[in-house]
């Protein structure tokens, strides 16, 4: 029987962090948000899978922003990833830590229900990093399990236990906020876990590992304490999945698979808003090749102005941005059919300067390159940071590209010849509307490959 399964996956963690009570907490760079995190994770998942954006039929996305941002975010994610206009986009509310799991289940349902070879991409992005939640994004590819001899990661929700637990009992993180009443919270989680253990004991699967994807470090601690001494207990250190908020469940799947420990069964316990869900994952050992776990080596504090970003040369609601989405969000240039000259942006070069032809083919620019020239500009208009680094990069396909770097990078760090990559970042946000484009970032990890333009 045809089952839906997880074929590939990836995670993205921002390279910025702030000091938490006990350890560094990952947070977005000043120009990152839930949209850019989602695109990073989605790009990496597509690369890990290796079949290109054109094969995706459904995009399920849940984004938790740090600000009250408006805008067609799910569509921006779709466009930036190169998914066709006809892709079905399911944008889910990122209300709590279970939203990531809901998104994954929705994607599995969408694939299982369709009679054709539907492929879904599901992404959960958590941008509200801070004292108890770390910023992160996870992305998974869901397909039909065609071949019994090469199964996918099978996913099965086993148990759900619900209990009405008001968030208010957990206190308020805001300064001067409400004190938490831990005892009631702990009592609730204890009762929840008793029921969970009871349900679990009625199945017969043995688990090799246990992952928690709780909404916060505190909830994870409660659950862990509650299941200690039961069959579900395992000696697990706190993993990155446990406090990645909305992205937690997807991060946990990638973490579990990419540990590369052979055929395994893994239990994933996800909690949020008073419901605790236990999920079984059956992981075939070979499949870790399609799962990309990446981590930045060097972490730094975010730098940037708070509040509104700079005014751009055109108002943010201008039709200009819609006209140039594909070029600005995913570097779609145009290649002359007669002589091969590559023009960018295509809308501003309707006639080839080499041969004067007017026939063009879409052509994606490379995202990897080295510094050809660079500068740090310390005198910028209102709304910009005190200084910004700009780079003229020489891309691996020979094309040159000019872009700023994120605000936390300083000019002294950059030299001609250094390797960089282009990544989607936010250029400004004003009155809830944001504009995204490509910036050069330091190429810390080698695992993010070139996106593949597949004919649609």
């Amino acid at each position: 029987m045809r089952q839906a399964g997880i074929a590939a996956g990836a995670v993205y963690f921002p390279a910025c962090a702030i000091a938490g009570r006990k350890a560094l907490r990952r947070v977005c760079s000043a120009d990152e948000d839930a949209v850019t995190l989602a695109v990073e994770a989605g790009d990496r998942a597509l690369s890990a899978w290796g079949r290109g954006a054109g094969s995706i039929d459904v995009l399920v996305v849940t984004l938790r922003h740090a600000s009250a941002a408006k805008g067609p975010h799910a569509q921006i994610v779709r466009e930036a990833l190169g998914l066709g206009e006809d892709v079905r986009v399911v944008a889910l509310d990122a209300a709590d830590a279970l939203s990531g799991l809901t998104a994954l289940e929705s994607a599995m349902d969408a694939v299982a229900v369709d009679r054709g070879d539907t492929v879904a991409l599901v992404i959960a992005a958590e941008a509200a990093g801070g004292a108890t939640i770390q910023a992160a994004a996870g992305a998974l590819i869901i397909t039909i399990d065609e071949d019994d001899s090469a199964p996918l990661v099978a996913f099965r929700a086993v148990s759900r236990v619900s209990g009405l637990t008001h968030e208010r009992w957990a206190g308020s993180e805001a300064p001067g906020g409400r004190e938490p009443d831990f005892r009631f919270i702990e009592h609730r989680y204890h009762k929840l876990s008793e029921t969970l253990v009871d349900q679990h004991s009625r199945t017969s699967t043995q688990f090799d590992e246990l992952y928690f994807a709780g909404g916060s470090v505190r909830e994870h601690a409660y659950l862990h304490r509650a299941v200690r001494g039961t069959e579900l207990a395992a000696d697990r250190p706190v993993s990155p999945a446990s406090d990645a908020g909305v992205a937690g469940p997807l991060v946990a799947v990638v973490e579990a698979v990419s540990r590369n420990a052979g055929d395994r069964h893994v239990a994933l316990v996800a909690s949020g808003s008073g419901q605790v869900v236990q999920v079984d994952l059956a992981i075939p050992g070979y499949i870790c090749a399609h799962f990309a776990w990446t981590n930045h080596g060097e972490l730094r504090a975010p730098v940037g102005p708070s509040g509104e970003g700079p005014e751009l040369s055109l108002p943010l609601e201008s039709p200009f941005y819609a006209r140039d989405w594909a070029p600005m969000l995913r570097l779609e240039a145009a290649k002359c059919e007669s002589c091969g000259y590559v023009a960018f942006p295509p809308s501003q070069r309707p006639i080839c300067p080499e041969c004067h032809s007017r026939q063009w083919q879409p052509h994606l620019l490379s995202r990897r390159g080295t510094v050809f020239s660079h500068l740090e500009n310390r005198f910028l208009p209102a709304g910009f940071p005190a200084s910004l680094v700009f780079v003229l990069g020489e891309l691996s396909d020979g094309f040159r590209y000019w872009a700023p770097m994120p605000p936390e990078v300083r000019g002294a760090e950059i030299s001609i010849g250094d390797p960089l990559r282009l990544a989607l970042r936010r250029f400004t946000e004003r009155d809830g509307l944001a504009v995204y484009g490509m910036k050069f970032v330091i190429a810390a990890d080698a695992s993010a490959d070139e996106p593949v333009l597949v004919a649609k």
């Binding site: 700079p310 005014e311 040369s313 942006p345 500068l375 005198f379 208009p381 003229l392 040159r400 250029f427």
Partner: protein, 390 residues
């Protein structure tokens, strides 16, 4: 040799600086009167057939959109045919080129060119940083003037070992020349250390590597070569004109350490004039930033590619050197009221070629001078003009 169908017969300019007490019309009129009164045999303003008005920021930054009518009303000649030109930093010299074409076509015989700019009508920060909000919202993001010129200079320093000290020497030279120019904005002497100690604005330019914000106006009168001697026994002829556009975005440009439009415009002017760089007695080039003057030497054929750092160090472009560059003090020390700049360079060439430049006079041998501007949005334009005696 040379095209020589048009002659310059009058030239004048206001001082450049912070002219808070004068508005656009007043400085335009002052430059105009200066040009009229400079005509050796006298000049009746009613002889003017047409005018070109070079002004840049009027429409880019303000509510006013100056037109040709702004000029004609300022100089008491409403009704006169007049066109306002805007083409970035080469606006003034491009307006001059248009005037020459009008005369050469035979449609007009005596044409006035006035370039005028009031950058100090706004706060320094306000006008400098406005340019950072123009152009493509993503590709020109934060694109202040330094972003447009610095990458090529940085690359030149990397490929040829040009140093910050050599850049600073351009500022030292031009400030020194400006001390001999009563119209120059800046006075005093600076050293290489002064430049390097001034705050860094944008790699590789310190504050003293950059030209100031300026007000000012300049004017010239041109006429057909056949009629030049009605006005003066020492006309200066337009030997060659060159104008070129460039590939626009920096990612499209083909030269990494210079600007193709400068090279092309210069080639066109040299060809039309029938001369080589060796024939030049002086040049007024576009030194919006010190490093740009050095790259200009190479684009304009004054020295080998990569050798401009050594050239400034050896004093080749000082007033007494092999080829004096910017004896007026250049944009850096004389000032850069954008629309007036190109016209003022022509005023300097006219004055020098007639050997009336007093303490900053260069030695005249072959009797040719070159002016050059480069700039505009994303540095897409260059104009080169060669004036000659004979």
């Amino acid at each position: 040799m040379g095209w020589n169908r048009v002659a310059v017969v009058g030239a004048g300019m206001t001082p450049f600086g912070e002219l808070f007490d004068s508005g656009l019309e007043q400085i335009s009129a002052e430059a105009f009167i200066g040009a009229v009164e400079s005509v050796d045999k006298g000049f009746d303003v009613n002889q003017i057939d047409a005018a070109y008005f070079a002004n840049v920021v009027g429409s880019l930054q303000g509510n006013e959109i100056p037109s040709g009518a702004t000029l004609t009303n300022a100089i008491g000649l409403p009704g006169l045919p007049a066109t306002r030109i805007e083409n970035g930093c080469p606006t003034g010299s491009d307006a001059f080129r248009q005037a020459c074409l009008a005369v050469a076509s035979g449609v007009s015989e005596v044409v006035l060119v006035v370039g005028a700019e009031k950058l100090r009508e706004r706060s320094t920060k306000g006008s400098l940083l406005e340019s950072g909000r123009m152009g493509h919202p993503i590709l020109s993001y934060g694109g202040t003037a330094t972003n447009l010129f610095a990458p090529q200079v940085i690359r030149h320093m990397y490929e040829f070992g040009t140093t910050q000290e050599q850049l600073a020497m351009v500022a030292v030279k031009n400030w020194s020349n400006a001390n001999l120019n009563p119209k120059a904005q800046r006075e005093g002497t600076i050293s290489v250390e002064d430049v390097l100690r001034s705050p860094m604005v944008c790699d590789p330019f310190h504050v003293l590597d950059a030209c100031p914000q300026s007000d000012g106006a300049a004017a010239v009168i041109v006429c057909s070569a056949e009629r030049a001697h009605e006005f003066t026994d020492k006309p200066v002829y337009v030997a060659g004109l060159g104008l070129a556009t460039d590939r626009l975005y920096i990612h499209e440009k083909q030269s990494a350490t210079g600007w193709d439009c400068s090279r092309l415009a210069a080639e066109r002017a040299y060809t039309m004039a029938g001369i080589k760089p060796d024939n030049l007695d002086l040049a007024e080039v576009h030194d919006c930033f010190t490093g740009v003057e050095l790259l200009n030497y190479e684009d304009l054929g004054f020295c080998e590619i990569g050798a401009s750092g050594k050239a400034i160090e050896a004093g080749e472009t000082a007033i007494g050197g092999r080829l004096p560059v910017n004896p007026s003090g250049g944009l850096i020390a004389k000032g850069h009221p954008i629309g007036a700049t190109g016209v003022a360079q022509l005023v300097e060439l006219y004055t020098q070629l007639r050997e009336e430049a007093e303490s900053r006079q260069v030695r005249i041998r072959d009797g040719f001078g070159l002016q050059h501007n480069v700039g505009g949005y994303s540095v897409g334009i260059s104009v080169v003009t060669i004036l000659g005696r004979e």
